[in-house]
Symmetry: C2
Subunit: 172 residues, 2 copies
């Protein structure tokens, strides 16, 4: 798929068919997650890939009502900030680096015809703590976001496009 078309036709998909995602496509999605820039190239993230239906339901319940699409997803990826990798003087860039990884995975999936929706976890600390507990995470791994993936069973909605008033030239 053309790269710009891919960026512009992405939309959040919350309903999925039963079609499995192949190992190759999953590998491409994860590789895309690792292909973005990160602070001082620390690559301060890790990923938990979940296909087990029961675990997906537990993750969804731990993440609040807006995470319900995960219950019908083919797989979910929990992005973790991995502080083991981060630079001491700039520790909190894991939030930005994990977000870059998430968007790259969403775009790679879209290019493969796979839909997805971003489910916010951090910085809502109740969600963060519940995911931490569910996966028994070490202290230095921080639940960042969950992306639900699956072949689309709905069209999704394109959101507003260019908004002129959000762009300022040379000064505020």
């Amino acid at each position: 798929m053309d790269s710009l078309v891919n960026v512009f036709n992405r939309r959040s998909i919350r309903k999925y068919t039963d079609q499995k995602i192949s190992k190759d496509d999953l590998h491409t999605i994860l590789r895309a997650g690792m292909a973005g820039p990160s602070c001082a190239n620390t690559r301060d993230w890790s990923f938990i890939v979940v296909e087990d239906k029961e675990t997906l339901i537990k993750m969804a319940d731990a993440n609040g009502i807006y995470a319900a699409p995960l219950k019908g997803a083919t797989l979910g990826i929990l992005i973790l900030g991995d502080l083991e990798r981060s630079v001491e003087v700039a520790k909190d860039y894991w939030i930005i680096d994990g977000s870059i990884a998430g968007q790259n995975m969403i775009l790679a999936a879209n290019a493969l015809g796979i839909g997805s929706v971003w489910l916010g976890t951090y910085p809502q600390m109740d969600r963060v703590e519940r995911q931490r507990e569910l996966f028994q995470l070490p202290e230095d791994k921080i639940p960042h976001s969950i992306i639900a993936f699956g072949y689309p069973a709905e069209e999704g909605v394109l959101k507003p496009d260019y908004e002129e008033d959000r762009v300022h030239f040379e000064k505020w």
Copy 2:
């Protein structure tokens, strides 16, 4: 450009030719910045586009030594978290939403043959405050990151690819 190729061949470019970026391409880059998902579709960002050489130098100086590439860039975009738009219960998603916008702009630029490098501002608060002062920003606009853009005058370096040990299946 093929979408997956675009994701995988992106690299940070810190040296640029004198070639200008057209208005159309700038529009495409900004539109890409607005095409990602955001928390509850708040689109809680704004952008300052800078082409003026003197301002680029001031922005670079305000952002620390690693921002030096901005001095030779064709243009820089300062991403702002725009709290005027954010949801009260989930205010701090602007950090994630601004990051998604940044990566989308970088990928759109790459698809157009334009190089870029991500210059971290937030959460290093000295940098945030200096950008705020430089642009005399209102309280509810938070400097997030600067992306420097220009046609590449260097190859850039591809970073490590897939790392197996960063992926966990079903459990930590």
